[in-house]
Structure formats: C-alpha cells, structure tokens
C-alpha cells in the first residue's frame, strides 16, 4: 500500500504526458493543453508545470511546498492533425476527474483507449468533404457545373491524400501531390469542355479541402494567448502547407499552359 502511494506521482506524470501528446496530436491549442493538464494534476492534489511545443512536451509535478517530485518529457513523431473526438473525450475526462474524483486506474483506462477512438467511415468522409467543396464553390459564386466538378476533384484529391497518409509520406509532399491531382481534374475537364468555359471558381475551391484551417486559427489563438513561439510555429507550418498547395497548382497550370 505504501509502495503504491509513493509511485503515484510517477504514474500520474506518465499519464499526463500521454494525455498531452494525444491533445497536441489532435490539434488542440496551447492554452487548452495546459488548462486540461493542470485540471488533471490539481484534481489529484499536484501542481503541473507544462512546457510544450509542436513536437515535444515536458511536464514537472509539484506538491505544495515540497520540491519537484516528477519530471518527464516526450517527443512527438508526427506533426499535429485534427481529431476533435479525442479532444472532447479528454475534456470530458478532465471534468470527471475533477468532479467525480475517479481513480488513477480509471483515468489510465480511458487514456489507453484514445488510439482506438473510431473515425468516420472513409466513404462518409469523402462524401461530406466533397459536399463541403461544392458548398464553397457556391458561396464563391460558382454555377452548378462548377459545383459538380469541385465535388469530383475534392473526392479524388482527398482519396489520394488518404492513400499517401497511410503510406506515411512527408505531410507537405502529401499536400503538394493532392493539390496537383485535384487541380488536374479541373484542368482536364476544362480541356474536355472547351476553352470558352471559365472554371476559375472550380480551380479556387477544388483545393480548399487542403487549407490547414485548424492550424491557421490555432496559430492566431496561440499568438493572442501569448504563446508566441507556438503561434509562429503553427503559422509557419500552415504557410508551408499553403505554399505546397500553390506549388501543386502552379505545376498543373504550367503543364496545361494556363499560367
């Protein structure tokens, strides 16, 4: 029993590191990560000091007036994506820990299940993202034919992107390749349909599914919260994606002599 008590800080610390890694990977902003981790630590009577960046996190735990009783860090293998189901599971868990005082074992159970959290079926994702693409096309002023072409280009581009992600290519290469394929679909259909059709709206919206919206918004939110380094980090990451999209688009326009 006394043994179990003494290794509590280490167990809690490791769980917090796991939680922090899951949150960063799922696209949570810096303040949200720190807030959630402090909530967990406070519930068990500790104070957590968190230092985080896009690809590493370190945590040290204190108990009032006693010195540092745990410190640890983790590096994160991949750049952050977006998985809001993980964020809501962890947010809910943090309230359970705080209000219902659930034990460390139950906390560990939920955190260990995080990698198994289901995603939507692949064809559902493809369909809804295609709809989103044609919705964008409508709000930009596109006509029905452009909306249909945008749907097609988005579905093909996203399918290719998912394949590349499964094969673990560099994320910027993935964006470049999918932007190229999606805009090539529009370019080919404009060649087929003849030169007098103007598909400018379709070109602009066929690549929008690649725009790193979560990164862009999180970047500014981090800057507003004073996490300047993380904000610049995320902003640069988003810019690299934007330039990959531009490069893919430029390649297609160059090949089809539309530039």
């Amino acid at each position: 029993m006394s043994n179990e008590k003494s290794d509590e800080p280490a167990r809690l610390g490791n769980l917090l590191l796991q939680t922090g890694v899951a949150l960063i990977k799922s696209g949570a902003g810096s303040s949200r990560v720190i807030k959630n981790l402090s909530r967990f630590a406070n519930a068990y009577g500790y104070e957590a000091n968190v230092d985080l960046a896009t690809r590493n996190i370190s945590i040290s735990l204190h108990k009032e007036k006693r010195g540092n009783i745990f410190s640890g860090s983790r590096s994160i293998a991949s750049l952050p994506g977006a998985n809001f189901r993980v964020i809501s599971v962890i947010s809910r868990l943090s309230w359970d820990v705080m209000e219902k005082k659930i034990s460390l074992e139950e906390y560990a159970n939920v955190i260990n299940q995080v990698p198994d959290i289901p995603t939507y079926k692949r064809n559902v994702i493809l369909f809804f993202t295609g709809i989103a693409g044609s919705a964008f096309c409508y709000t930009f002023g596109g006509n029905v034919m452009e909306m249909v072409l945008t749907f097609l280009a988005t579905v093909i581009g996203l399918f290719f992107k998912q394949e590349l992600v499964i094969k673990k290519y560099n994320p910027f290469m993935v964006t470049f390749g999918s932007a190229m394929l999606a805009s090539a679909v529009i370019a080919i259909s404009s060649k087929v349909l003849g030169v007098e059709t103007n598909l400018e709206h379709a070109f602009a919206t066929s690549i929008l599914f690649l725009i790193p919206g979560v990164l862009l918004i999180n970047s500014f939110v981090d800057l507003l919260d004073g996490h300047i380094i993380n904000g610049i980090d995320r902003g640069t990451n988003a810019l690299m994606h934007a330039f990959s999209i531009a490069a893919g688009l430029a390649t297609v326009l160059y090949i089809f002599k539309m530039l």
Partner: protein, 168 residues
C-alpha cells in the same frame, strides 16, 4: 434574379454544408454535427447580411461579426452537447476562411515568375493583407468570449441575468 434575403439564406445553407463537411473531416463526435450545421448557417447569415450594401460592412467586419456570433453561441451549445466549445466553433468558422483571397495571393506570387508589372505586386499584396486580416478577425471573433469574460472554463458561464437584477 433572386431577392437579396433569399440569396443570403441559400448561401448560409451552403455555409452550413461546408461546416459539416469539415466537421466530418476533423472527426468531430456525431452528437455535435447538428450544432455545427446550425453554427455554419448562423455564420453565413451574419456574414452575408453585414456584406449587404445597405449595411455596408466590409468583408473583414463581416467575418469578425460572424465569428463572434459563433464564439458566443458555442458556449451554451457546448453545455447542451457536452463537448468543449472549440469542437463546435472551429468547424463552424471554416466557411469564413478567405479561400478566394488566399488563392489569388498564391496565383499572384506564382505570376511574379514571368510578370514584372507593379500592378501585379500591389494586387498580390492587397490579397495577402486581406487574407491575413480576415483570418485574424476570425480568430479574434472566436476567442472574444474568452477574452471578455476572463474565464478559465466555459462551464462557469451562463447568460442569465445576475441575481441582483432579477425581480424578487
């Protein structure tokens, strides 16, 4: 020719569709999808109403107003659907992202390769600045409730009147 209000409703509906598409792409819990669809519609209504010539707000004010509306609405909705407010607000503001300005900035940068006119430079700089400020307006709008209420968590926020203002 459609009347203005009908066009606004159409565009708002498609904003809702775009929001739900991105919500699925970001793997949002199914219980939040309806709220995100309604949020996207709310964003579209605000944006295109402020953009009307009678109202006369520019695109930046329109995006900021729509994002602020989402920010405030996401607080009660996050209680209702038991998800953190960002899960609702980020997919709902995605339709506001200035895709066409970003696209024209990128094309402008590419066209520097073989064009040297000053007009290309000014047009591209204008498009880039618009992209930057619209995204800034969106993120300010979404975080506005947090900045105004100076709060740790939205669980402590409710929009009912303070006790001393209520009638006995």
């Amino acid at each position: 020719m459609m009347p203005d209000w009908l066009e606004i409703i159409f565009k708002a509906f498609w904003c809702g569709c775009a929001a739900i598409g991105f919500a699925v792409l970001f793997n949002t819990p199914p219980r939040a999808l309806l709220a995100i669809f309604l949020g996207g519609i709310l964003a579209g209504l605000f944006k295109f109403t402020v953009l009307l010539p009678e109202v006369g707000g520019g695109i930046i004010m329109a995006s900021a107003a729509a994002a602020a509306a989402i920010g405030f609405a996401s607080i009660p909705v996050s209680h209702w659907r038991h998800v953190p407010p960002v899960v609702i607000s980020i997919p709902a503001v995605i339709p506001l992202i200035p895709g066409s300005f970003a696209y024209r900035t990128m094309l402008g940068l590419i066209s520097f390769i073989n064009q040297t006119e000053a007009e290309v430079l000014t047009a591209t700089a204008h498009n880039g600045a618009m992209t930057f400020f619209i995204i800034l307006a969106i993120s300010l709008g979404v975080t506005l409730p947090m900045l105004l209420f100076r709060i740790e968590s939205v669980k402590k926020v409710n929009y009912s009147l303070p006790e001393r203002w209520k009638r006995k």
